[in-house]
């Protein structure tokens, strides 16, 4: 019973739910502000994403006559719930060890594509030709970026497991790093770390990989027909997804807490965790987004197949050899 309560608390309040929503909107605000700064602009205030959400709540919801209404309404909710559950599963070093018995890499592999699925459902059910285009682009990109993700997950699991076979449990991966130092500093894991860092803009659709929602090409693709609160849910979903992928990369590469847990240590560790997320955000999203344009779909696809996947595979191979 307590386990269920714990899971509900984790999904709705902390570390999923409210905490992740607030953190996601804040990170988005920081991202926009820093991109503006990099382009020599002033940029919006940090709380602008929250204002956007409030604004969208006041707007009218339009649903196309030809759309499948159930799927159309379900898609954003599906994406957001999937991401909230994922956020609850992710452990934070020195603060939270995940819901007991649930967090493991295979579950994450199933949960991570849910927002993309939501977008695909949205694009498919909106009956707009641009939505359908966005749907096919999103699916192509998903096939492209899932490969390096799986390979780097496996690399981490094999490296952590050593001779006793791969470890898929996230708490075990964190324990290994608490004892042996973060995987980010492990030369064997460096290519996989790079692949994970490149996976983040790929899955968020930023910079080079802004392909499924390309505004001038397919007019925001799957989101084209959405307005009002449903669009707000999509924006919340993307905010939570940003936090989830950042937290995932932090958990896999460098979850080490700053001080021992207990007392005020939890708060310090939480801040430290957010700092790590911010640094990763700057590297993999903000600078990337500010400096790059958009690739064509085939270029984006072959980028992941040609460069990112081999990086992760190299790590996997090395980890396998050195186990």
């Amino acid at each position: 019973m307590t386990n269920v309560l714990e899971a509900v608390f984790a999904i709705l309040i902390f570390p999923g739910g409210l905490f992740v929503l607030a953190l996601g909107l804040l990170l988005k605000g920081v991202d926009r502000k820093v991109v503006a700064r990099l382009q020599r602009r002033v940029g919006p205030p940090l709380y602008q994403p929250a204002l956007d959400i409030i604004k969208l709540m006041t707007k009218e919801t339009l649903i196309p006559d030809t759309a499948n209404e159930v799927a159309f309404r379900l898609a954003p909710v599906l994406g957001l719930t999937g991401m909230l559950v994922t956020a609850a599963l992710l452990p934070i070093g020195g603060v939270w060890n995940g819901v007991t018995g649930l967090g493991d890499l295979l579950v994450l592999l199933y949960l991570l594509p849910i927002p993309a699925m939501g977008l695909m459902l949205a694009g498919g059910s909106s009956s707009s030709p641009y939505g359908a285009l966005g749907f096919s682009r999103e699916m192509c990109m998903m096939f492209a970026y899932e490969m390096p993700l799986i390979a780097s997950f496996l690399a981490v699991a094999v490296r952590v497991g050593g001779a006793s076979g791969p470890f898929l449990s996230l708490p075990a991966i964190m324990d290994y790093q608490f004892q042996h130092g973060p995987l980010l500093l492990d030369p064997v894991m460096l290519p996989a770390a790079l692949a994970l860092v490149l996976f983040i803009p790929g899955t968020m659709g930023h910079g080079l990989f802004d392909i499924p929602e390309a505004e001038p090409e397919v007019i925001e693709g799957p989101l084209l027909e959405y307005s009002g609160p449903l669009l707000a849910v999509f924006h919340l979903m993307s905010a939570v997804k940003l936090v989830v992928v950042l937290e995932l990369a932090v958990a896999l590469l460098c979850p080490n807490p700053l001080v021992a847990a207990g007392g005020g240590g939890v708060l310090v560790n939480l801040l430290w965790h957010i700092c790590k997320c911010l640094v990763l955000l700057m590297v993999s999203v903000t600078c990337f987004r500010a400096a790059t344009g958009r690739l064509r779909l085939d270029q984006g696809f072959s980028f992941f197949v040609k460069y990112t996947s081999p990086l992760a595979l190299v790590s996997l191979w090395l980890a396998f050899l050195l186990r």
Partner: protein, 175 residues
């Protein structure tokens, strides 16, 4: 390799290059062609501005009682080409550098220069002629100030009278 990193670093250090405009007045060049400004004191109703206006923004409407003309310049049609100001013989029309023209839809039909210009009167017969403000008399009518104030008919008569006078004096001198 990666020249954009250098550019981004420089941008970070240089800081924003944004104008403070909505919160502070924007810098405007003094030769900026903004909305036209009309000085009814100088207008002689010659109509050249109406003739050259490419967008048809200038209208001259005779008033019903025939006492003058209604001069209208619609800012919502004006394309700021400046031809009217260029051709205006008296400098009644000039281009200012004021570009604060945004207005609400309710003000659509009031966003114009509208002024009534009364006709002048012929100094001799009292017929309606184009206005003859003092500023214009000083500028255009310096050669023959008294004839400048006459209506075309009186002007013609006065010229004929002058010519006849000159001829008769000549005849008296050389019979």
């Amino acid at each position: 390799m990666f020249p954009f990193l250098k550019i981004m670093l420089r941008n970070l250090l240089l800081g924003p290059s944004t104008d403070a405009f909505p919160f502070a007045p924007a810098k405007t060049h003094e030769n900026f062609r903004g909305c036209a400004v009309f000085d009814p004191e100088k207008c002689i109703l010659c109509g050249i501005c109406h003739h050259v206006c490419a967008a048809g923004a200038i209208q001259l409407r005779p008033s019903e009682d025939g006492a003058g003309m209604q001069y209208l310049l619609w800012h919502n049609s004006c394309v700021f080409c400046g031809m009217c100001a260029h051709y205006c013989p008296t400098g009644a029309l000039t281009m200012s550098n004021n570009w604060h023209l945004a207005h609400t839809g309710a003000e659509m039909f009031s966003n114009c220069i509208s002024s009534f210009i009364p006709f002048g009167e012929c100094a001799q017969c009292g017929a309606k002629i184009q206005p003859r403000p003092q500023a214009i008399i000083d500028k255009l009518g310096v050669r023959s100030p008294e004839r400048f104030l006459l209506c075309p008919q009186c002007k013609r008569q006065s010229i004929v009278r002058n010519v006849a006078q000159v001829r008769s004096t000549r005849r008296q001198e050389n019979p």
